[in-house]
């Protein structure tokens, strides 16, 4: 029941995408501005300069980070991310993925879409694909989180989304709960390419995922896509920075 005051004067405030607190409503807001003051303070946009491959903030302009230096050149995948994977981002992702708050895909997807528009849309033709979940995991969660993001981005940018990859292995322990070495181990043979063999030489494909920690998942998927003659680039919502892995 609205009070007589708000019946006369209307509701001028809206709610934050991520925590439902009231926020001022401004015409033409970008999705990342539609946050309450609290979220605005906690979320952290990745600072420049960044590693020119994986997007990790670094102190030197136009350089490779230590991780990217360790990976061989043919395995490197260019990645862009919206926010740093800090405590706030972790809570958001947890609420979305593990507690099934499916609505959050929308702001995350829109946020990623406008980032992609800024950084990648100069490439003339590209496709969108995503890092898939195992079908058992989809059954557990009720939705495939990366697929949802990919479809929102695709609709926003008018770019087709294709299911090119499929997840083969299903493990009890989730990726996010392992160490670097364990992850690298576990990923071998985790995905396979299921798309048709097409003549796509040089076609860019955008790989969508939610969180970029070490980049191993993205690189593994990219390897398969490269084998099918695609040129993969990646976009993730959050990206870990060294102190918070």
């Amino acid at each position: 029941m609205r009070s007589w005051w708000s019946k006369i004067f209307g509701d001028s405030s809206a709610s934050c995408w991520f925590c439902q607190s009231p926020r001022p409503r401004v015409i033409g807001d970008h999705v990342w501005e539609q946050l309450c003051a609290g979220c605005m303070e906690k979320r952290k946009i990745l600072a420049y300069p960044q590693c020119k491959v994986c997007g990790k903030p670094s102190s030197i302009d136009d350089s490779f980070c230590y991780d990217c230096q360790r990976t061989p050149e043919y395995e490197r995948v260019v990645n862009i991310s919206c926010v740093e994977y800090n405590h706030w981002a972790r809570l958001v992702v947890q609420q979305w993925k593990y507690r099934g708050d499916e609505r959050l895909s929308r702001p995350m997807g829109l946020w990623m879409a406008s980032l992609i528009k800024q950084r990648f849309l100069s490439r003339d033709r590209f496709l969108i694909t995503y890092v898939p979940c195992h079908r058992n995991r989809v059954y557990e969660r009720g939705f495939d989180q990366a697929k949802q993001l990919a479809h929102i981005i695709g609709a926003q940018l008018h770019v087709p989304v294709m299911d090119l990859l499929v997840r083969q292995s299903y493990q009890d322990q989730q990726q996010s709960k392992r160490s670097r070495e364990q992850r690298l181990q576990a990923l071998v043979g985790a995905f396979s390419y299921q798309g048709k063999q097409m003549d796509v030489s040089g076609q860019s494909v955008l790989l969508v995922d939610d969180v970029y920690t070490t980049g191993s998942t993205v690189r593994e998927c990219a390897k398969l896509l490269r084998r099918a003659n695609f040129q993969p680039v990646a976009c993730t919502f959050a990206r870990a920075n060294s102190e918070y892995v």
């Binding site: 009070s3 004067f9 209307g10 509701d11 001028s12 409503r25 033409g28 807001d29 970008h30």
Partner: protein, 804 residues
């Protein structure tokens, strides 16, 4: 976004528009509304039906309200114009003493008419002419609330006599004032009582502050300026300053504007909070203070607006409710319109609300899109841009000019005044009641700052060519402008166009559209236009050709008569400044290609002084004789100072202006001995215009001698339009001259009830005998002639007397 009040205001505006378009025909739009309502109920889907019905219903209500109040808004006095009556009544407004005039509004109680007292409730305007210095001093005693008895000469407010001139009758009618009572001498005013009300008490407090300010500021100009700024006494601001601020688009900071009120309320609120009061208590305190402040500073519509909105803000704080300024603004508009429906036609009211609404909606999104800079700077810049863009169509519609520096001046000066001058001004005023020396010390610093900024403003002012005239815009130009403005704002602000070129595209189209407003359409007009401007007793003709060439022949004027210091008005009437320049601006003139000065008499030349100052001029043509009068010498010096070439009329030559338009210089011959030493009238320049094979003869003030000379030297063709020489004096337009020309039409530029008795009945008789149709400014106001190959059309401002 659910804002019912915004919908109500939109509906209200639509209702007013309907009444304006249909002229208040009840049946027509009652039927229209029924159709709208029924279709709304039946066809519209449920989601928007609520808003649709709300808008439609308010539209209907406001339509009925306006057509009803318009019908009711007529005078109840059954008196004739120019009648002398006795009245009693109460002074309703603060009396304003301006030079030798005392003006106030009078709420009538009864009038003595046809030898009986009649009760009435009408309001009239009273203008009393002060005759002596003693009366001038006494007039300061006249106060609001006096019950007076006076004999008054009743007149209807004047109608505009030139296209685009101020419509005084409509303006007063919108305040439900239909008569002006005039009287001479203060002794005719008899005080028979005093009614005290809240306002008389507030006037007393106002007087207290005014007196205190007289102690504080030693410089009279700065004192007047600060009175305007702090107490809303617009009439104390020096006229020169006001004009400078007006041309730079800064006039809103001169008198108390709504922004000042919000700023003051905000500052006081923060102060109370700092002292340690709760938010709620400080809000209640502010609510008590606001009405007092609004009344003290004159309660003009922008101040009332700001007072209402700030009041609602305080109420929201006190009751801990949500604050939505846009809805508050809409409610404030509705409250003001309920009390005075006709305010909606007032330019000040429109500007105030349109700009505020645009600022509320537009500033923050735009400021968020500026990539660099401090936040306060981004907000100032965005606010200035939004306010400029939103006020521009209204300024062009009502005032027809705009300065290129307006945006820059607003960004530079407006924050300076609100952050520096205003707080120190109020602070020093309040402190001075406690410790006078500190107040004086503060104001000395302030005086220095203001004079410094004034120098800056004057310097900017002197840069020529920053002021553009815009011809009166039609609705197509206006609506396209508004579409482009909103469109470019939206594309800049919206997420959709972040990295695209569309915002740039739309904004450049928008700026080009402003250019179209300045330079008019790109194709030639269908007619050449000659306007006989109504300058009273005097001559002024504007010729605009099809291709847009502008020729001005004389500029009217009157001899300045000596006045004592106390008699001088704040803004003395000047034909050039108040008639000719506004008319040229209204026509969208940005440059005068040829200025013709026939001779040096005041009624032809004096008005050109203001024209030379305002417009760039290509060249000036005058008669070949030396300058005699002091006025002409001064004027020539002014012209030389501006590097405008002055040519001597090449007698006997023909000048082509553009295809189809040429000027033949007929007279005077500088070898004619008789011209030297005689009156200047016979030395006047005589021009024959040939426009699309029509001959138009401009004769200045020539008399019999000159006419004879012209007849000797030239074989005149049949003249189509004859500018009657010397305002129709009987010493000119001789029988022989008229017989030779046989003019089809005659133009007489002459003042109403002039002292010379022009035009003389003899001349009118001579012209009528020759079968000439006469157009004269004293009866018809300005007369416009439109000429092309096929036709000659006449139209005049005061149509009802037009075709006799």
């Amino acid at each position: 976004m659910n804002r019912p009040l915004v919908k109500v205001v939109i509906g209200w505006l639509m209702g007013v528009l309907c009444v304006q378009l249909t002229g208040g025909q009840w049946l027509l739009y009652t039927c229209g509304f029924m159709v709208v309502l029924i279709s709304g109920v039946t066809f519209i889907n449920s989601e928007v039906r609520g808003s649709y019905l709300l808008v439609a219903l308010t539209c209907m209500v406001s339509g009925f309200v306006y057509s009803y109040t318009m019908l009711q808004n007529v005078s109840e006095l059954r008196i004739a114009s120019d009648e002398d009556i006795h009245v009693t009544g109460t002074i309703e407004s603060k009396p304003i003493r301006d030079g030798d005039q005392l003006r106030f509004d009078l709420q009538l109680a009864q009038i003595w008419h046809q030898s009986k007292w009649i009760h009435t409730k009408e309001r009239i305007k009273v203008v009393i002419k002060i005759e002596s210095m003693k009366q001038w001093e006494q007039s300061q005693q006249v106060r609001r609330g006096w019950v007076i008895q006076a004999p008054l000469h009743m007149e209807r407010p004047s109608l505009p006599r030139n296209p685009g001139a101020f419509h005084y009758r409509d303006y007063l009618q919108q305040q439900s004032i239909f008569w002006i009572g005039k009287s001479t001498g203060l002794q005719s005013l008899k005080q028979i009582g005093t009614e005290s009300s809240l306002m008389t008490w507030i006037d007393r407090v106002h007087q207290l502050f005014t007196d205190q300010m007289a102690h504080l500021y030693s410089d009279t100009e700065v004192q007047g300026f600060m009175k305007g700024l702090l107490l809303g006494d617009r009439y104390d601001v020096p006229m020169e300053w006001e004009e400078q601020y007006q041309t730079l688009g800064l006039v809103h900071i001169l008198s108390i504007s709504g922004f000042h009120v919000s700023l003051l309320v905000g500052a006081l609120f923060l102060m109370l909070r700092y002292v340690g009061m709760t938010r709620e208590k400080s809000a209640w305190l502010m609510l008590c203070f606001l009405p007092f402040y609004v009344l003290l500073t004159g309660a003009e519509s922008p101040i009332v607006r700001a007072g209402l909105v700030s009041g609602m803000m305080c109420l929201a704080i006190a009751w801990r409710k949500e604050k939505d300024i846009l809805s508050f603004l809409c409610l404030a508009a509705l409250i003001q319109l309920c009390f005075e429906p006709f305010l909606i036609f007032n330019p000040g009211f429109q500007l105030s609300y349109v700009v505020t609404a645009a600022l509320i909606v537009g500033t923050t999104p735009l400021a968020n899109r500026f990539p660099y800079g401090y936040e306060w700077f981004r907000y100032t810049l965005a606010g200035a841009c939004v306010a400029q863009a939103a006020s521009f169509p209204l300024l062009v519609y009502y005032f027809h000019e705009s300065s290129l520096f307006s945006l820059m001046a607003n960004v530079l000066f407006a924050p300076f005044f609100s952050v520096v001058v205003l707080p120190i001004g109020y602070g020093s005023l309040l402190v001075s009641f406690l410790v006078l020396p500190i107040g004086i010390w503060l104001t000395q610093g302030l005086t220095w700052i203001i004079q410094f900024s004034q120098n800056g403003i004057e310097w900017v002012q002197q840069v020529s060519g920053h002021l553009f005239s815009f011809a009166h815009p039609n609705w197509i130009w206006l609506s396209v402008y508004i579409l482009l403005m909103v469109g470019s704002w939206w594309t800049w602000v919206s997420v959709r166009y972040v990295h695209s070129k569309i915002p740039w595209l739309i904004s450049s189209v928008w700026i080009c559209w402003i250019g179209v407003g300045i330079w008019g359409t790109f194709w030639p007009a269908s007619h050449h236009e000659i306007t006989m401007i109504d300058v009273g007793q005097g001559d002024a003709f504007l010729i605009r050709t099809k291709l847009g060439k502008t020729i001005l022949i004389d500029g009217g004027g009157r001899l300045p008569y000596p006045q004592k210091e106390w008699q001088k008005r704040r803004n003395p009437f000047d034909v050039g400044e108040d008639v000719v320049v506004p008319f040229l601006t209204y026509q969208g003139v940005n440059q005068i290609d040829l200025l013709v000065s026939t001779h040096g008499d005041a009624d032809h030349l004096q008005g050109l002084g203001a024209v030379v100052k305002r417009f760039p001029i290509e060249k000036i043509i005058r008669n070949p004789l030396p300058t005699i009068s002091k006025l002409e010498k001064e004027w020539t010096r002014e012209v030389r100072g501006r590097d405008i070439p002055i040519h001597i009329a090449p007698i006997g030559q023909i000048w082509g202006i553009e295809p189809g338009v040429s000027i033949t210089f007929l007279y005077p011959d500088f070898r004619d001995e008789a011209l030297y030493g005689g009156t200047s009238n016979n030395a006047g320049l005589v021009l024959l215009f040939t426009i699309d094979q029509k001959h138009i003869l401009f004769t200045g003030d020539i008399e019999q001698h000159a006419e004879e000379k012209i007849l000797q030297a030239w074989n005149l063709p049949k003249i189509d339009i004859y500018k009657v020489a010397h305002h129709g004096s009987k010493t000119s337009s001789t029988e022989a001259f008229i017989h030779q020309m046989r003019p089809r039409y005659a133009l007489i530029s002459v003042g109403e009830k002039n002292l010379y008795g022009h035009p003389s009945p003899e001349v009118v008789g001579r012209l009528q005998k020759a079968g000439t149709q006469i157009y004269r400014t004293d009866q018809m106001g300005a007369v416009t002639v439109r000429i092309n190959q096929e036709e000659v059309q006449f139209s005049s401002m005061l149509q009802e007397k037009g075709r006799e």
